[in-house]
């Protein structure tokens, strides 16, 4: 849930990287942290087991000046993909503003992908929202591997809306398709925020008003 702080001229959004275990979610955050302009990034927090599997979440705060006159904070989280950590996934998903769904392109992972996507829909529904209300993009990761499913087949499994959502082929370990997904989802989140905010009604307190249209 976005948060507008007029005192600090800040707007904060929450973006969650969701997807099956070992799909490359943590890798996305590591690559962003490693490659982004240093002034845009905060500290990367990784909470993993000894085997490098995400246990609770990873967290990377980013800052952008994309909204004029405000500092826009985008808080990036990953969920743990392993099936047993569903309670944790629900916690991380609370108040989400946008999602990057990281799918594993290897043939043998197609069932994991669809189960994880279904799990995401179930968890959102439990929080009285739905995938139809949350901006999201798909990232078909590990395109460097030999045993991968074609993109149109993955679309058939995961991108089934009448109007398809943006989707990116990626090689997260080489930082390919990583910024593309991040920037697209960030823009979608901003667009959704503006749309919702224009739909509101009521009188505006003086100190909230920067300039009325």
């Amino acid at each position: 849930m976005a948060f507008v702080n007029m005192a600090r001229k800040e707007i904060a959004f929450k973006i969650v990287y969701y997807g099956p275990a070992l799909g490359g979610k943590t890798t996305n955050l590591e690559q962003i942290h490693g490659a982004i302009q240093p002034e845009s990034r905060g500290e990367l927090t990784i909470l993993s087991t000894r085997q490098d599997r995400t246990l609770f979440f990873d967290f990377l705060p980013l800052r952008s000046d994309i909204i004029r006159g405000f500092s826009s904070k985008f808080q990036l989280y990953t969920v743990p993909g392993q099936t047993i950590y569903n309670e944790t996934r629900k916690l991380v998903l609370r108040h989400v503003d946008g999602i990057v769904f990281v799918a594993d392109s290897q043939w043998e992972k197609m069932e994991d992908n669809t189960l994880s996507f279904q799990n995401m829909q179930d968890n959102l529904r439990e929080q009285n929202t739905s995938i139809d209300q949350i901006p999201y993009a798909l990232q078909y990761n590990k395109r460097d591997l030999p045993n991968i499913a074609p993109v149109h087949y993955m679309d058939f499994l995961l991108n089934r809306r009448r109007v398809r959502v943006p989707r990116f082929e990626s090689i997260a370990i080489e930082c390919r398709g990583v910024f593309e997904a991040l920037n697209t989802v960030s823009r979608m989140v901003l667009a959704a925020f503006i749309r919702e905010h224009r739909l509101g009604h009521g009188e505006l307190p003086e100190d909230v008003c920067i300039s009325k249209e």
Binding site: S40, E43, I66, F74
Partner: protein
């Protein structure tokens, strides 16, 4: 859905946090939401990675609440993490937010709890005013379309 906080409201909340900081002789006081967003803060210490602190605090606090629910307890009212030099106190507030007090040897858990509970009572009516869309309608949000939200420090080399 989103929250918004006016300057006036922010000042009121920060005044209450300042009072708590002084009276409890704490190092830092944070009010954050469930997602780890810092709503307001007052600190004497300087923490470089405040956003990470808030995200971890919110994560652990709300995980503990979930734990309470699973063992049949409606909620743990507050949580202490006791360190050798620095300790942390966390308490739930209205609107599913979290008040966190970081304190050192100058203070003690009893004092912190006493003042924190009082502060949450005083904060409650203000927190409930942290409102949804109506509060910022008309606010002109203008996006800079000439750039991407995030840029790389260096563009990758093109291959292939």
């Amino acid at each position: 859905m989103y929250y918004s906080m006016t300057r006036e409201l922010s000042e009121k909340i920060e005044t209450l946090l300042s009072d708590l900081l002084v009276r409890a002789e704490a190092d830092a006081v944070f009010l954050c939401d469930r997602g780890g967003n810092i709503m307001a803060q007052k600190t004497t210490e300087h923490y470089v990675h405040e956003e990470n602190i808030a995200a971890l605090a919110a994560g652990s606090f709300f995980a503990t609440r979930e734990l309470a629910r699973l063992i049949g307890e409606p909620e743990f009212k507050y949580i202490f993490h006791r360190g050798d030099r620095t300790s942390i106190y966390m308490q739930h507030t209205p609107l599913d937010m979290l008040l966190m007090v970081v304190f050192g040897k100058a203070s003690n858990p009893g004092i912190v709890r006493l003042y924190a509970e009082e502060t949450v009572r005083s904060l409650a009516p203000h927190i409930e005013k942290i409102a949804g869309p109506d509060e910022t309608v008309g606010l002109n949000i203008e996006i800079d379309r000439s750039q991407e939200p995030f840029k790389r420090a260096t563009e990758p080399e093109k291959t292939g």
